[in-house]
Amino acid sequence: MSELLDLPIYGLTQREKERTLLPALAELTLHHRAACPMYGRMLDALGSGDAFSSLEDLPFLPVTLFKRHRLASVPDEEVFKVLTSSGTTGQAVSRIYLDRETANLQANALAKIMSAMLGPARLPMILVDAASILRDRSIFSARAAGIRGMMTFGRSHFFALAEDMSLDIDGLKQFLAANAGRRVLLFGFTFMVWKHFAPAVEAAGVRLNDAILVHSGGWKKLTDESVDNVTFKRRIGEMTGISSIRDFYGLAEQVGSVFVEGDDGLLHPPAFAEVVIRDPVSLAPLPAGKVGVAQVISVLPRSYPGHSLLTEDLAVVHSVDGAGTGYGGKAFSVLGRVPKSELRGCSDTYAAGRGL
């Protein structure tokens, strides 16, 4: 497994990727099938064999199943921590069971991806969130885990927001003065950067000229405001002075396996991960240029059967082995969530209107 982490991270052609990843993923599928009885029953029902001719051939689980079932491939005593997705109150949350091996793989993988993007030196780091998010250690929410995971890649951390999401202007000015002349790393959730950070920075008249912003967390709220990635980058640049802005896409159910925005503005699977776009109804794989739901594949998940997941995100592959881009494999973008269902059972007469 660790050999896969040492491959050139964006250097493999699609064909090389298939060749190197397929045996590892076939082995992972067999491992989970044997180690997680529920997963085994699902694969039996799907009529899935044990040999796969391509990555597209691998069976895939909908992410939502991690909310409904306890899907683990290790005994309880080996569970090192349980990662929960940050569901809104009342909604079921995903539970991801990690052992030390998988947690280490995730950390190493993320380090490979981040050092490819940020370089080897750790930069002074601004976290676009409140420090209090880390205080509650009883649950590992995806947001806290994301912050914690990213903090490793910077130093001299400064949390830019107060608990009420207002900008700590004085703190920010002090941080910038202390790090004058140095490149600064910022990390935050896309919506927090857009809503709570950039406008306040602009209002305070502060400029972050030599900074790189890495953000994640999804486009749902911004899409609702008709803000796309190009607009986001332009407006954030105008408001804060930040010129280097990178989105990344990843699931709480596949921590460490993230798809980072390249110089071309598109997302790229690292050497140990892959994306497949599927027709949302037939679930058949779609060629480049066709919008469908994203299936994400990763060699990291060993303690839970999350190595091949069907997301609820719409995405499109723009090119494969794009010539002259410097990236091998697929280049894609995520367009947002699949629109919510209008289907209602008898049980929902009341609930239907109440939630909206």
Partner: protein
Amino acid sequence: MIERLRDAADAGALARRVAAAPAPSPFAEELLAFTSELSSVILNDRRSRPLPEVVALGYWLRPASMRTLADRFAGLNSSHAVRVPAGLALHIPPANVDPIFVYSWILSLLCGNGNIVRTPARRGSVAELLMTQISQVLPHYPRIAGSTAFVEYGHEDAITEALSSEARMRIIWGGDETIRHIRALPLPPRAKEVVFADRFSFAVIHAAAFLALDDHAAMELMDKLYLDVFLFHQMACSSVRLLAWCGTSEETRKAAGRAIPLLRQVIERRRFSLEAADALAKYAACLSLAVELPVARVEWGDGSLAVVDLKDGEPLHWPTEPLAGGGLLLQAHVAELASLAPMVNLRTQTLSQFGFEAEQLAEFLRMLNGRGIDRIVPLGSAMNFAPIWDGYDLLCEFTRLATIG
């Protein structure tokens, strides 16, 4: 036509107005003229044609069918007891089956009641079409129009309470959560509540009888199965969720092997389409079922119909989680009707069947001894509304008996 209620004061005023308006007496000629005209408008509207549930309503409203209903109503009266209207009815229809609000309203109207009908919160195109058709006819019948109000409002309890304050009858078309919620809102002491809770339905086909059909008849039967499964996106209480094949193991496998490809042809011909979110929910549901039930195989096909085939000889039971709709069909193979008994419970509503004798079905009901199943219908009729629903005779529910002597 639809009155938008802003607050409780609005609602109270409307309720008092409708309560004070005189309604035609049960099965008055005026009512039969109205249903007849509404039937013509629905059946002559080309927009109705691709919508089987709208056409079915149009047929139900035809004079012949209404006369039968009137005759049955007459039979509910005697020299010692007269059926009189229960009084003002408040109808809370379901969100999933659009035409229910019309059936509920018409039956109460025929029973001589005034009516406040809450229109479905998120009206689908079917409900919108029905409202258009009703509004073409209703103005010709001032007494019916005066004693009827179609209303819309959010989920403001204060409005429901104000509407309830004048009601003699509150009719809630499910589901369980809605019933629990609305039941907690006060009703006048003399008022009653008629409720329709969450239900599930299934179908059974006699495998040998199906195998004996010629290709044309087999295809026709699958068209009927299509209606029972796919109408209302398989989200109605009467929607078939499980199809059981009854016969020897060899017969049931052979019958299923013949039927499912035909059903897929029907789906394609009828242009059933599924939203992405519903397909994804269905896929997740299929895999969840594989954990919960003895599933032999999930056949996803092109996604429009997912067949979750259950293993032979394993005990049957309903899954604990509500089933996703949109074309998820559990398929079971059983030796006899009695083998279906373990999956029948108080939530089981309709059994659609093909190939069984009336006596076999009666025997099955006797064996269940009231544990479930309110209606057994020929395959293809599960969605047909009937004035006896969930075990209630609505002609009785919507009236009172005044006795003589």
